[in-house]
């Protein structure tokens, strides 16, 4: 195990400590909670609060998406495991600015059950809570069962859009609507080249043979659509986009935002080479690119691999996507 860590069971808490030491002007704890963080300037009175959360090991997902124009608070689980309802509740209460709370996170059963409990508890405290789940990974279930799809890097678009809508002063129902639109209009598919190792486990979760890749694998090693020999990356992009484009489907004349995400161990150079191919394929399909994001938007410990996400835009989504937002974990967002 090639990791720069101390006690693997302290991995998450020490990461959080490092993050808070690095960004005190940006993030603070939700009260005494060890596993819930929020905007340093929160709660923002009168604004709908967006609370997210999930397992650790994916920075900037999830805590890197807290900030102006993004989420208000985050609850943080063990590596690849849901946060506890207690921490979700702490985040929900601390971020609540009197205008209701949106629980916005990825469609994973542990997160759903635990956020569900937290929402029940918050409602007992008279906090109005709504829930929207990201389900962007087209490889995880057929489109007819979109509710079974898991979330991968495309979750970023849901944060960006919902965050901007909340920042505009919209009410909870409107923020929910924007989040749902973004979540529905986002489709992703990834490829994995190497496994990741949960620090406390000490051994890789799965294996991928030398020279092999898995198309559609999830960011925790969930089964993809096919495993095979590594091929030139242009062919990989064609395959990923083949699935993604057919899914909505995206059509000539559509305008989209593109996200090419590295799982972390794949170097930046390679995601730019992927983006080069994405522009060619979309260009040929008559689909216009309004804005692109290339880099690490959802990592998975030391996994190598990447994903391509498309968000189909309309005028509203475009305005919200282009709005300013800030997190020290991301390149500058917005115009």
């Amino acid at each position: 195990m090639k990791k720069l860590i101390n006690d693997p069971f302290e991995f998450v808490d020490e990461t959080i400590e490092g993050v808070l030491l690095a960004h005190p002007e940006h993030l603070k704890r939700c009260g005494g909670s060890k596993r819930a963080l929020m905007r340093a300037d929160g709660p923002v009175e009168g604004k709908v609060a967006i609370v997210t959360g999930g397992g650790s090991g994916h920075i900037p997902v999830f805590l890197g998406y807290v900030g102006p124009g993004l989420c208000d608070a985050v609850s943080i689980g063990n590596v690849f495991s849901s946060p506890s309802p207690d921490d979700m509740l702490a985040a929900t209460k601390a971020a609540h600015g009197g205008a209701g709370v949106l629980h916005l996170y990825g469609n994973y059963s542990g997160d759903k059950m635990n956020f569900g409990m937290a929402a029940e508890m918050a409602e007992m405290d008279d906090i109005e809570v709504a829930t929207v789940l990201a389900t962007d990974d087209v490889s995880s279930a057929p489109v007819e069962e979109i509710d079974r799809r898991r979330a991968v890097a495309g979750l970023f678009f849901a944060y960006k859009i919902a965050g901007a809508r909340a920042e505009e002063g919209a009410g909870l129902a409107e923020v929910v609507e924007a989040a749902e639109q973004a979540a529905f209009a986002t489709r992703s598919m990834g490829v994995a080249l190497t496994p990741c190792t949960i620090p406390a486990a000490g051994a890789p979760t799965f294996e991928i043979g030398e020279g092999e890749m898995e198309i559609g694998m999830g960011i925790h090693g969930e089964a993809g659509v096919r495993r095979g020999e590594i091929v030139p990356v242009d062919d990989v992009v064609d395959e990923l986009l083949g699935h993604v484009l057919a899914d909505m489907p995206f059509k000539a004349g559509d305008e989209v935002a593109v996200l090419v995400n590295s799982l972390g161990a794949t170097p930046p150079e390679e995601v730019y080479i992927m983006y080069r191919r994405v522009t060619a394929v979309l260009g040929e399909a008559g689909i216009a690119i309004h804005r692109s994001f290339i880099g690490e938007y959802a990592t998975s410990l030391e996994m190598a691999g990447a994903s391509v996400s498309l968000l189909r835009l309309d005028a509203d989504l475009k305005r919200l996507l282009d709005a300013q937002a800030y997190s020290p974990f991301l390149p500058r967002l917005g115009a």
Partner: protein
Amino acid sequence: MDTLSSADLIAFLTMLTEEMPGHSDRLRELDAQFGDGDLGITIAIGMKAIRDALPELEAEEPGVILAKAGMAFNREAASTFGAIFATALMSAGKQVRGKPEIALGDLPGMIEAAASGVSARGGAKPGEKTILDVLLPMAAELQAQVAGGAALADGAAATHRACGEALEATKSMEAKHGRGGWFKEKSIGIQDPGSTAICLMMDCFARFVAG
């Protein structure tokens, strides 16, 4: 031992929290085959959380001890299994609210309550490769043991056997829930990790009540 007092329950949970982390690697490996490999870690962290909570639970009645142990587990080791397991313990505990001791006769109702709590929380039905697939056979066997007038130790031993058979049967099922659900037919042939954990706990319980 015919019934479990609060002290007995705490002694059992102490034994459980000592034994279960030893199965971490096995559970991690099972979970890694059609999931994300975290279950072993979840069990290790969650059992430690229960142990840390026990000193404060000594004065409580058995049902409350169970419920609070479940909450402690999921507080530190939240996850699909954590939420399900906490729900199971809370539902089972609620079933014996107010009772100072748990007898064999209480167990069928407790496990049935756990099963329906789990089903309500996670939406699983029998045959979908979840802990329901061991909980329901356990409840049925307990029912039969109570009807047959068995002693606690014998009833627990028989239930452990039934649980083992039910666990074996999960191998042929296709996972529909949790991360396993995305592995579809690839999940067939491997026994359910969550049910394996339940069975290991049942084994511990049977040995505990046997003295």
